[in-house]
C-alpha cells in the first residue's frame, strides 16, 4: 500500500444514485402489488363465492369496521402488544445472546436450553403461559416475548462471538471503561445483528400476538379475527389482516430502515 494523500473526499455523487435506485425499486414494488390486486379481482369474479370476496368487498368491510371505531382501536391495542413484547424480547434476548457469545463456558451450559426453546412450538408456550399465569395481559405479552427471545439471543450470540479482539484491546489500553466500551466499541459492531433480529422479530412477533389474542384476550386484531371467523366473514378477516400488514410495513420503512442507514453511515 502507498501513502496517498488524496484518497479522501470521495463523498459526493453516490447519494443521488442511491435515492434514484430506491425510487425505481418503489415504483416496481407498486406495480407488483397492483398486479396482485388485479389477479385477486379477476379470481373473485370468476369464483363468485362469499368465501373469496373481491377487493371492493374487503374495502367495504374495512370502511364499516373503521366507522364503528373497532378496527382502529383493535389495531392500536395489537400494536401496543407487539411493541411491548418486541422490546422486552429484544432487551432480554440481546443480553442473553451477548453473555453467551462472550463466555464459552456459559454457552456450553445454556446453549442447549436455547436450542430447546427455539424448537418449542409457539402454541405450547402460549398455552403454558396462560395456564401458569392466568388469562392476563402480562401472560399474553410474556408468551410472545418468550417465543421471540431465543431468536434474538441466537442472532446476538453470533454477533458477540465475532467481536474484534483488536478493538477490545485498544479500549482496554486507553481505559475506556465498561460504559464507553459498550457504547463506542461493542454496540456499533452488533448493530447489523440487532437489525437482523429486529427485522425477523417484528414479523414473527405480530403473527404470534394474533394467536395469543385469539386464545386468551377479549380485544385486539386476533380477537376480531376470531369473531369474523365464527361468522364466516372472510371480507372482515382480510380487511384486518391487510390493515395490520400495512402498519407493520410502515414501521419497517419509517423506523428500522432509516435507523439502519444511520448506523451504516460510516461505511464507504
Amino acid at each position: 500500500m502507498k501513502l496517498s494523500e488524496a484518497a479522501d473526499g470521495a463523498e459526493h455523487g453516490t447519494d443521488r444514485g442511491g435515492t434514484g435506485r430506491r425510487r425505481g425499486r418503489l415504483a416496481f414494488t407498486l406495480f407488483s402489488l397492483l398486479l396482485l390486486l388485479a389477479l385477486w379481482f379477476l379470481a373473485a369474479r370468476l369464483i363468485a363465492s362469499p368465501v373469496l370476496p373481491g377487493p371492493e368487498a374487503v374495502a367495504r368491510a374495512f370502511w364499516r369496521a373503521s366507522l364503528t371505531g373497532v378496527l382502529p382501536a383493535s389495531l392500536a391495542i395489537t400494536l401496543a402488544r407487539v411493541v411491548a413484547s418486541f422490546l422486552i424480547a429484544m432487551v432480554i434476548g440481546a443480553a442473553v445472546g451477548i453473555l453467551l457469545g462472550r463466555s464459552p463456558g456459559l454457552d456450553r451450559l445454556f446453549g442447549p436450553w436455547l436450542i430447546m426453546l427455539l424448537n418449542l412450538p409457539a402454541l405450547v408456550i402460549i398455552i403454558l403461559c396462560y395456564v401458569w399465569f392466568g388469562l392476563t395481559e402480562a401472560a399474553a405479552i410474556t408468551a410472545v416475548a418468550i417465543n421471540k427471545i431465543p431468536n434474538v439471543a441466537v442472532t446476538l450470540r453470533e454477533g458477540a462471538a465475532s467481536l474484534s479482539r483488536d478493538l477490545d484491546e485498544m479500549a482496554q489500553v486507553f481505559r475506556f471503561g465498561p460504559l464507553r466500551t459498550l457504547r463506542h466499541v461493542v454496540l456499533p459492531q452488533l448493530s447489523p445483528f440487532f437489525a437482523a433480529a429486529a427485522r425477523s422479530g417484528l414479523a414473527l412477533t405480530w403473527k404470534i400476538v394474533l394467536v395469543v389474542e385469539l386464545l386468551g384476550r377479549s380485544n385486539g386484531v386476533g380477537f376480531e379475527l376470531q369473531t369474523a371467523f365464527q361468522l364466516f366473514d372472510v371480507a372482515t378477516v382480510l380487511a384486518y389482516a391487510l390493515a395490520f400488514t400495512v402498519v407493520v410495513q410502515i414501521i419497517e420503512l419509517a423506523l428500522i430502515e432509516p435507523w439502519e442507514r444511520r448506523a451504516n453511515r460510516w461505511r464507504r
Binding site: 500500500m1 502507498k2 501513502l3 496517498s4 494523500e5 484518497a7 479522501d8 473526499g9 470521495a10 463523498e11 483488536d166 478493538l167 484491546e169 485498544m170 482496554q172 489500553v173 486507553f174 481505559r175 475506556f176 464507553r180 463506542h184 466499541v185 456499533p188 448506523a263 453511515r265 460510516w266 461505511r267 464507504r268
Partner: protein, 241 residues
C-alpha cells in the same frame, strides 16, 4: 515519563493446530530508563508484539513481573499509550471522536483531540470516517490518539510499517516533533535498523527463540550524524553477530 523493568521467567504459547508448544521468553530481563527511546530490533515472529502486550497488561498469562515506576509529579498511576501494528481506529466514529475517546466524551476531550489533530496535520479530516483516509493518514490519527492522553510510557509496534519510505520518513519526523513537545519514555518495535538508528537513544537487538538480548547499544548522535557515517557504523555494529 516513567521508567520500567520487565522480568519474564517464562512466557509460552500452547500448541495450536498441530504445531509444537512455543517458549517465547525464558529468564528475560529488560530495564528501561525514564525518558529513553528504546528501539527494539528483532526478526519477525520472535515475540516483540508479545512483549509489548505483556507490558501493556493485555497479556497476563506469563510467569514474571512488569514494574512501572510511579509517575512523576505525584500524578499517581503512570499513563500508558500504545500505537498498534495496525491503526485500530473505530471505523464507525469520526477521526475527531477516535482521538477524543481516550479522554472522555465532553467538550474538553474534543478540544484536546482537535489540538492533537492540528499537530499531526489532520484537522481538516476531523469529521471524516477513518476508512476514507489513506493508511498514512490513519497511522497519523493513531499517533494523535496515542499522544492525546499525554502518556508517560508509549509503546509502538512497527507503527510505520507498510508505508513507502517517504511516508515513513515523514511520520518519523512527526514522531520526533511530538516527543519534543510531549516527552515520554518510548519502546519502539521495528525490524528496520535504519529506522532504529534514526530515532533511538538506545537500541536493543533480540535473537532466539527463546528471545534474548544480543546487542544493547546507547546512541548519542545528533540528527545529521545518524544519517551519515556514524549512523552507518552503528548499523554495521548492530548487524554483526
Amino acid at each position: 515519563m516513567t521508567g520500567l523493568r520487565v522480568d519474564i521467567r517464562e512466557k509460552r504459547f500452547p500448541a495450536v493446530a498441530g504445531g509444537p508448544e512455543r517458549v517465547i521468553y525464558r529468564d528475560f530481563a529488560l530495564e528501561v530508563a525514564s525518558g529513553a527511546i528504546l528501539m527494539l530490533l528483532a526478526p519477525s515472529g520472535l515475540g516483540k508484539t508479545t512483549l509489548l502486550n505483556i507490558i501493556a497488561g493485555l497479556d497476563r498469562d506469563f510467569i514474571g513481573s512488569v514494574r512501572l515506576d510511579a509517575a512523576p509529579g505525584g500524578r499517581g498511576r503512570s499513563r500508558l499509550s500504545y500505537a498498534f501494528q495496525s491503526p485500530r481506529l473505530l471505523p464507525w466514529r469520526t477521526v475527531e471522536e477516535n482521538v477524543a475517546l481516550p479522554l472522555g466524551e465532553g467538550d474538553a476531550a474534543r478540544g484536546a483531540a482537535r489540538a492533537m489533530l492540528d499537530a499531526v496535520g489532520l484537522l481538516e479530516q476531523a469529521g471524516a470516517y477513518p476508512e476514507r483516509l489513506s493508511l498514512g493518514q490513519q497511522r497519523r490519527v493513531a499517533l494523535a490518539r496515542a499522544f492525546v492522553i499525554e502518556p508517560d510510557l508509549l509503546l509502538m509496534d512497527e507503527p510505520f510499517v507498510s508505508l513507502d519510505e517517504a511516508g515513513a520518513a515523514r511520520l518519523r519526523d512527526l514522531l520526533r516533533r511530538l516527543l519534543a513537545v510531549h516527552p515520554a519514555t518510548v519502546i519502539f518495535v521495528t525490524h528496520d535498523s535504519r529506522e532504529a538508528v534514526e530515532l533511538g537513544t538506545r537500541i536493543v537487538r533480540l535473537d532466539g527463540p527463546p528471545a534474548r538480548i544480543v546487542k544493547d547499544i546507547a546512541i548519542n548522535l545528533d540528527a545529521a550524524a545518524r544519517r551519515a557515517a556514524p549512523g552507518e557504523a552503528l548499523r554495521a555494529e548492530l548487524a554483526a553477530p
